[in-house]
Symmetry: C2
Subunit: 157 residues, 2 copies
């Protein structure tokens, strides 16, 4: 029976993560330092593959590294009850709902602004630019500030 042994590149390909991200998780203490070959290459076995899969899935659900740290801690203590896990997840679901609502309000604002300039005319008389220059940004309340729209950059591979 041959046990699983992957170099970092193979692991990265299987889990569809960039190699540098895996090393980053190690630096951050989410992944323990793996065994090394004589040539100083990292070698990953099944438990580490599982752990990284867990981390990747949590990130795909957009949890922060701190939320994931907390879940890993709970995962590593199998005899406790899992109320803590539920709490982390509930809090995260709340985050997501709030973001969705904020973005919907934002979209309404942006579309209203866009409507003001359906035909191209000159910049000087552009209703969009004048709308954006208004002290209180039109009459509608300002989009709740401080919620980024722009996701992470598309990752390579």
């Amino acid at each position: 029976m041959t046990t699983i042994q992957l170099r970092i590149g193979e692991l990265a390909e299987q889990l569809e993560l960039p190699v540098e991200t895996i090393r980053y998780y190690e630096r951050e203490g989410l992944m323990p330092p793996p065994r090394r070959t004589d040539g100083n290459y990292r070698v990953y076995d099944a438990p580490l593959v599982d752990r990284l899969t867990f981390i990747r899935n949590c990130r795909a659900l957009d949890m922060t590294l701190n939320e994931i740290r907390e879940l890993l801690r709970l995962r590593d203590a199998p005899e406790q009850d899992c109320t803590g896990v539920n709490d982390v997840l509930d809090a995260h679901i709340d985050h997501v709902c709030e973001r969705i609502n904020a973005l919907r309000r934002l979209k309404v604002q942006l579309q209203g602004l866009r409507e003001r300039c359906r035909q191209a005319h000159t910049v000087e008389e552009c209703e969009i630019l004048s709308g954006l220059s208004a002290p209180a940004l039109a009459s509608t309340p300002l989009a709740s500030r401080h919620l980024p729209v722009h996701g992470r950059k598309g990752s390579k591979r």
Copy 2:
């Protein structure tokens, strides 16, 4: 007729922006360096107040500083037509729509996961943790990766 002359703190209060953010926009080239008093204090006049208002409103609509740079460039060329402005705004609205859809898919995933553990039991048998450890994260397609949920930290005043 007294023209407007504000120190940075007064400007910050009027526009409800932190002072450091205003200085940051200057370092970033979004705001031109203002006049200074003998004591080396920044002094802002009406055109600069307008410009900062514009920037603040764009940020409230969650545009990136690069998008805003582009809009400012267009705003500074008043004789051109404003197709470019529309393009920036349309692209931004697209961003927002994509984010909303991605977050909705995410929410469905998270709620499905949460349902797997309605009652508290031990971590060892927790369906949430096992779900998160699955190689492909349940059967549903992975939430499109790379879209942060967590907004900026709440700013001071």
